[in-house]
Amino acid sequence: MASEAQFDAALDLLRRLSPLKVSNNLNAITTLVPDLTEDLLSSVDQPLTSARCKKTGRDYLLCDYNRDGDSYRSPWSNEFDPPLDDATYPSDRVRKMEVEANTAFDVYRQMYYEGGTGSVYLWDLDDGFAGVVLLKKSGGKEAGWDSIHVFEVDERRGSGRTCHYKLTSTVILHLGRENEAVGSLKLAGSMTRQVEADLVVDNVGGQGKDGGHVCNIGRLVEDMEGKMRNMLQEVYFGKAKDVVGDLRSVAPLTDINQERQAQRDVISSMGK
């Protein structure tokens, strides 16, 4: 049996080793400690891949949440590919919400990503339901964005009109440049954030409260993605660039020090 300490060490290691080699490193860790495989696969986010729905011709994204054995469920047709005899499907109520959420996030994707691929998968829980919103956009070989928003809605927890929502969001962002002047440059990685909230569930559309859930999840994801986009921008183009400047200064430090000394002299002479 793998211990909790080993699981934590595996996560710490994956947080340190190259984010471009997550899947290799995951394989290596689970070769060392095979018992960690299932826990790690469900808690480590990797760049998303897509498949084409045979029934509708539309692309959908693949993840652990729409997988059953070697088959994946299309959110558009609700069918598994390759077909399964005894697959688990969402309940009728949750599937209806899933269809609604896919329609809503299709609009969201168009408005914010102006392209790309998206999929929403929901599943039943004892006290409510849970789901994942996936969004993917590629900008050629040199850029890619993957959003993975996993949420849980606890319908028993809350006060009368409200329900408890919990959202864990990961964005995987990779950027790169490869040319004569700069050589090879890769700026890649992922960030994860969590939020919990008690939200009022209004009646929206034909599905009443369930329509309200889709709106609440939509707003939660939209706010979180907006915040994360700002954070990523700050880390990728602010912090990373600053560290390069901390390592080496383009401007001669003697000049900079002289300037600072001159400034100090001016300030101290003004104080006199």
């Binding site: 300490a5 080993q6 710490d12 290691l13 947080r15 340190r16 080793l17 984010p19 080699k21 290596a28 070769t31 060392l32 400690v33 011709g57 329609t103 809503a104 299709d106 609009v107 969201y108 408005m111 914010y112 990503y113 956009k137 900008g139 040199e142 850029a143 964005w145 962002l173 950027l175 440049r177 700069v182 050589g183 090879s184 440059l185 890769k186 700026l187 890649a188 990685g189 992922s190 994860t192 929206v204 889709v214 709106c215 939509g218 921008q233 880390v235 990728y236 183009f237 912090k239 990373a240 660039k241 560290v243 390069v244 390592l247 080496r248 200064s249 383009v250 001669p252 430090l253 003697t254």
Partner: protein, 281 residues
């Protein structure tokens, strides 16, 4: 099946600047059940890592850093290195990353005059561009084995675990006195790991840039400074370019309408004609 030593060695190879000990701790936790002697078998991986990363270390009783590389190694079979700036040789324990047994040492080479000349100019270049707040070092030495070229090495590491940040700059230049040309490679690594894992990795090869045969230390260091500065400016430009083009094209900050999605009315939008056409693409 890959062995535990191979796997652990690959983890060591991938350790970000200044985070080797944390990676080793994780390896120990992951493997302790089966193989407590594993770390002892990883010395070749530590050696390779320290030399490739050109890690810097303080000599006992000194406040200055010296760097570790395959170029300033005394012999391939030993773990003794030398530093031309301080004229010392020292033992380096690759597993514990500690230097010891420093003693006076002068390396026999046909390039000793040139090396001294480069060292003199390099000290000023180093002070001008490598901030004293980082663990940085430089050295100049003849290439081992053939003694044909002169290696000019600069390395600096910043590790700030409190801010979940680390970074390393490495410059390797090889000057060939017989052709008067300079070649080499510059590499930058930056790691940010607060609630995430973001890494910058760059590498730029420099192919036989002419300095002129018979060039002195000042001319060689001037060329090195120019190459380093130009490269750093290119990297800064790449940051700006990626922010302003690639990043913006992935996801907008707000929709074209400058307004957030009205989720209650989303069904209305989706029945609109253009979205339906797009969805089939």
């Amino acid at each position: 099946m890959t062995s535990a030593v191979d796997i652990a060695s690959s983890f060591i190879q991938g350790a970000p600047p200044g985070e080797l000990q944390e990676v080793v701790k994780d390896i120990k936790t992951l493997t302790s059940d089966d193989d407590p002697a594993l770390i002892a078998k990883l010395n070749p991986a530590f050696e390779r890592y320290n030399e490739e990363q050109m890690v810097t270390v303080k000599l006992p009783g000194s406040s200055d850093y010296v760097l570790i590389s395959k170029h300033n190694k005394l012999s391939s079979a030993s773990s003794r290195y030398y530093d031309t700036q301080t004229s010392t040789s020292f033992e380096f324990d690759h597993t514990s990353s500690k230097a010891s047994a420093a003693q006076s040492y002068t390396h026999e080479t046909q390039h000793s005059t040139l090396i001294q000349s480069i060292l003199k100019s390099l000290a000023a270049h180093f002070a001008d561009h490598y901030p004293p707040t980082t663990a940085s070092a430089y050295t100049v030495c003849a290439t081992p084995d053939d003694d044909n070229q002169v290696a000019v090495l600069l390395s600096t590491t910043k590790a700030s675990p409190k801010n979940f940040l680390s970074g390393r700059w490495r410059s390797v230049f090889l000057y060939d006195p017989s052709t008067g040309t300079l070649g080499g490679e510059i590499k930058i690594d930056v790691h940010y790991y607060e609630d995430g894992n973001v890494a910058l990795t760059t590498s730029k090869k420099i192919d036989s840039v002419s300095v002129g045969s018979g060039a002195d230390g000042a001319a060689i260091v001037r060329k090195i400074a120019a190459i380093e500065n130009q490269y750093q400016e290119e990297v800064n430009r790449a940051f700006v370019g990626m922010n302003e083009t690639s990043f913006k094209q992935l996801r907008r900050q707000l929709p074209v309408t400058r307004q957030k999605v009205e989720w209650e009315k989303v069904k209305g939008y989706s029945l609109g004609s253009d979205l339906k056409g797009e969805a089939k693409r």
